[in-house]
């Protein structure tokens, strides 16, 4: 089959503003959008720029806006987007500065990640073996551990588009993963960060994040759990 891939192009070294370019690509229904982009780069226009690495949805490099929705280019197949002769549009994720074509500046995203203290805190002496944790306690924070930091959620959030200082869904998910880990003792500090005006209260439960997550994490639910923890636990 053949599809028309319409890509947003922008190279600050030569362009004043972004523009669109279309490529007619021969492909199979089971091809990934990443396969189409690779085909364009390797055989049609070598200047096309994007990030990619694992090509199967676990590294989080190739988050982009595909047919108007945030997805990983390696985890969405042509047949789920277009029929023979159809069009697939590809743009950079929103709310982060476009560095070139589909590649955006990830630093503000990782700054927000680091702000919530996304690391295990427990200064008690360690036991000889493992710290015990029940199957049930382990299950409480399982969803958050799936996060690959691709930024699909944060960059689909209307609040984040309006105010880039909002910590955003991805970092709240990271905080959740530790707040609800029975072994961790750093919740007070994290909940204080999340109670600030850049924290969880900015969330207006639009559910865009949950819909955008390529790992099916129920993000809005996790944010609600963090809100409740801020209210009733400590901060």
């Amino acid at each position: 089959m053949k599809v028309n891939v319409k890509v947003q192009r922008y190279n600050p070294e030569k362009d004043k503003k972004p523009s669109w370019q279309s490529f007619a690509v021969e492909c199979e229904p089971g091809d990934r959008v990443l396969d189409l982009l690779n085909h364009i780069k390797w055989y049609m226009d070598s200047t096309l720029t994007y990030r990619r690495s694992c090509a199967h949805g676990v590294c989080g490099s190739d988050a982009m806006l595909i047919n108007g929705r945030n997805r990983l280019a390696c985890k969405i197949l042509v047949k789920d987007l277009a029929r023979d002769g159809g069009t697939i549009t590809v743009e950079p994720i929103r709310g982060l500065k476009v560095e070139r074509d589909l590649l955006v500046d990830m630093e503000p995203f990782f700054d927000a990640y680091r702000a919530v203290m996304p690391f295990f805190i427990n200064d008690d002496p360690v036991p000889a073996g493992e710290r015990l944790q029940s199957v049930e306690d382990r299950a409480i924070f399982d969803e958050g551990t799936k996060c690959i930091l691709c930024a699909c959620c944060t960059t689909s959030c209307p609040i984040f588009w309006v105010n880039g200082r909002y910590l955003g869904p991805a970092s709240i998910v990271q905080a959740h993963r530790f707040i609800f880990d029975s072994r961790d003792k750093g919740s007070d500090q994290r909940l204080k960060v999340l109670n600030q005006n850049t924290g969880v209260w900015r969330c207006r439960t639009a559910y865009n994040c949950t819909e955008a997550c390529p790992r099916d994490i129920p993000i809005t639910e996790l944010i609600e759990e963090v809100k409740r923890a801020v209210l009733y636990q400590k901060a």
């Binding site: 190279n11 600050p12 070294e13 030569k14 089971g30 780069k41 390797w42 055989y43 070598s46 200047t47 720029t49 994007y50 990619r52 690495s53 694992c54 090509a55 199967h56 949805g57 676990v58 590294c59 989080g60 490099s61 985890k75 197949l77 560095e99 070139r100 590649l103 990830m106 990782f110 680091r114 203290m117 996304p118 690391f119 295990f120 427990n122 360690v126 000889a128 073996g129 493992e130 710290r131 015990l132 944790q133 029940s134 199957v135 382990r138 924070f141 399982d142 551990t145 799936k146 690959i148 930091l149 993963r177 530790f178 880990d181 072994r183 961790d184 099916d216």
Partner: protein
């Protein structure tokens, strides 16, 4: 731009992040990490099934059994001193990861959950044992995330999205690293007292691979270009269960949980090849068995070139709770639901057992006689200690990262604490600038993508699972031709910022040189051992070949590879295992 650090780590996967954490524990040294990706995108994150350690949480287990399995799995090419250190230390290292907050799956008693994996046995081969400590089917993801989190906590300095182009090595002394900053196109020199290589493997030399697009063997190749040796490159592991055509990994944990391989008639064919542990035989044996079935016409699919992985007899909740990611992969990429349907699989190029030769402390070797490259260390897949010998057991790569990443980090910091900064050469960036200038100014019209595809197709055919002298001799010539054509590759994109065309062209150069060393090493080894299986020399030959290959580029005669040898260490600190025929 110039930078100075006492310890510089190249690569931010499991080995690199463990090394940086341990180097930074020494408060007298400064540490930085360079990575061509963001750290959380490193390929350690793709590892699924588990990390092997004899915790004995489910059934009795001992490090001695793990040591034996590792050596036997490696077809006795494993250095036994490395295997003994490893199987002891990995127990403590797994507990340490748990103490860092790693969310392992749990048993009802609250301990770390463990499951079966290929080649893991009790009482020296009697039956399968639960040794793989796992976190659902994303153990590597959890290790990568946990180690990155700990580095954030420790305030590690990262240089993300820097492509390394050169190691500054003079007279067997390493003085630093030269790298390209992708966001600006600027060249940086990192002056360091010690450098730790932790840059991973080179699966992208093959057509079908589980490896990320970024795994192009950059640092192995740079090492080789300096006239320094690469060890045991002929041993390249194919994982038995890659998703058909795509090569995306389906964890061995799927068979650990009870999955069965079936041919076109539904036969459980592994009963014929490994009667005792069947589908849980080591990877080299299962991969070969699958290919034999396909070659003998018992494959499935349109081209009869795949085999089926059957999970349908397992309870739905086991599949969904212990193997959710691979279930998602099968549904996404194949439209197949593993709960109800069989999953078509093919072996996929997965792991380099060979690499930069090192001591048990990660010190890089300049020669088979034990000469060191002072100040240079390596750990993880880029390195060859040699723990994995001729075939790595499943879960031993994650163990390797944490055990030998830690040792390399400590040793590099200890060295740096005492050492002075060496004087850099006059123009340390000259070689790197030359590489880039040539690609940018070249008027040639050959296409890097076409050359890469030809390399991947031919390496798959000629230096893949089954090998013979004739095909590999042909491959030596093909690689030479492709290297000649590479000289005519030009980079059309003139931009400085994020010039990914330039990066891919540089990576192709690395892949071609790795292919040169690998093919020569494989052609030279006239026996079958572990992952190196020859149709013209079908038996293991201990009299002649119980030794490691050391491949050097002939600096006086480019394109020619010099091969020398290093003995296998057949004794551990307290234990040793005499080579025996390998049956399961």
């Amino acid at each position: 731009m110039h930078h100075r650090y006492d310890v510089l780590v190249v690569g931010a996967g499991g080995a690199g992040l463990m090394a940086s954490l341990y180097a930074a524990k020494n408060k007298n040294v400064s540490v930085a990490v360079i990575s061509k990706l963001y750290p959380t995108r490193s390929h350690t994150g793709a590892a699924q099934g588990g990390v092997g350690a004899a915790l004995g949480n489910v059934n009795e287990d001992h490090w001695e059994w793990h040591m034996f399995d590792t050596i036997k799995g490696g077809d006795y090419l494993t250095d036994q001193d490395a295997a003994e250190i490893f199987s002891k230390d990995v127990i403590e290292a797994v507990y340490e990861l748990e103490h860092m907050g790693l969310p392992f799956s749990r048993l009802p008693n609250g301990k770390i959950a463990q499951r079966k994996f290929g080649g893991h046995t009790r009482e020296y081969g009697k039956s399968a044992v639960e040794r793989a400590c796992y976190a659902v089917d994303r153990t590597g993801h959890m290790i990568l995330q946990t180690l990155y989190q700990q580095n954030v906590k420790a305030g590690t300095t990262f240089y993300n999205e820097f492509q390394v182009l050169d190691l500054i090595i003079e007279d067997n002394v390493c003085k630093g690293v030269v790298a390209l900053e992708l966001s600006s196109g600027e060249i940086h020199t990192f002056h360091a007292k010690s450098v730790i290589l932790a840059s991973g493997g080179y699966g992208r030399v093959f057509k079908i691979t589980s490896n990320a697009l970024s795994l192009t063997g950059d640092l192995m190749s740079i090492y080789y270009r300096k006239g320094l040796p690469l060890e045991d490159l002929e041993f390249y592991q194919f994982h038995p269960t890659g998703i058909a055509k795509l090569g995306i990994l389906i964890t061995e944990g799927a068979r650990g949980e009870g999955g069965i391989l079936r041919n076109d008639s539904g036969e459980r064919f592994m009963e014929r090849y490994a009667p005792t542990i069947k589908d849980l035989a080591p990877r080299d044996m299962v991969s070969r068995a699958i290919y034999r079935e396909i070659r003998e016409g018992r494959g499935v699919g349109k081209e009869k070139d795949a085999i089926m992985l059957d999970l349908t007899h397992l309870p739905k909740d086991i599949i969904e709770s212990r193997l959710p990611d691979i279930t998602d992969f099968a549904r996404t990429y194949l439209g197949v639901d593993p709960v109800k349907e069989l999953v078509p699989i093919q072996p996929t190029a997965h792991y380099a057992m060979g690499g930069v030769p090192t001591t048990i402390d990660g010190e890089a070797l300049a020669s088979e006689d034990g000469t060191l490259v002072r100040g240079l260390y390596a750990a993880g897949e880029v390195a060859c200690v040699s723990l994995h010998g001729a075939n790595r057991l499943g879960t031993n790569s994650l163990g390797d990262l944490i055990v030998f990443g830690r040792r390399a980090g400590m040793a590099a910091a200890k060295f740096a604490q005492k050492a002075e900064f060496e004087t850099l050469p006059n123009n340390p960036e000259a070689y790197s600038k030359g590489l880039i200038d040539r690609l940018r100014s070249n008027s040639g019209t050959d296409n890097a993508a076409k050359i890469r595809k030809e390399l991947q197709d031919t390496m798959m055919m000629n230096v893949g699972i089954f090998r013979n002298g004739k095909d590999m001799e042909a491959q030596v010539k093909i690689v030479k031709e492709l290297q000649a054509r590479y000289k005519n590759v030009s980079v059309a994109d003139p931009s400085a910022r994020y010039n990914t065309e330039l990066v891919e062209a540089l990576e192709l150069g690395f892949l071609l040189d790795i292919a040169e060393a690998m093919t020569a090493s494989a052609l030279n080894r006239t026996e079958s051992r572990g992952a190196h299986d020859r149709e013209d020399f079908t038996e293991r030959n201990d009299d002649q070949w119980l030794k490691h290959t050391m491949a050097y580029r002939d600096m006086n005669n480019p394109g020619n590879v010099l091969l020398r040898y290093k003995p296998v260490v057949l004794k551990g600190e307290t234990l040793n295992f005499v080579p025996k025929p390998r049956v399961y």
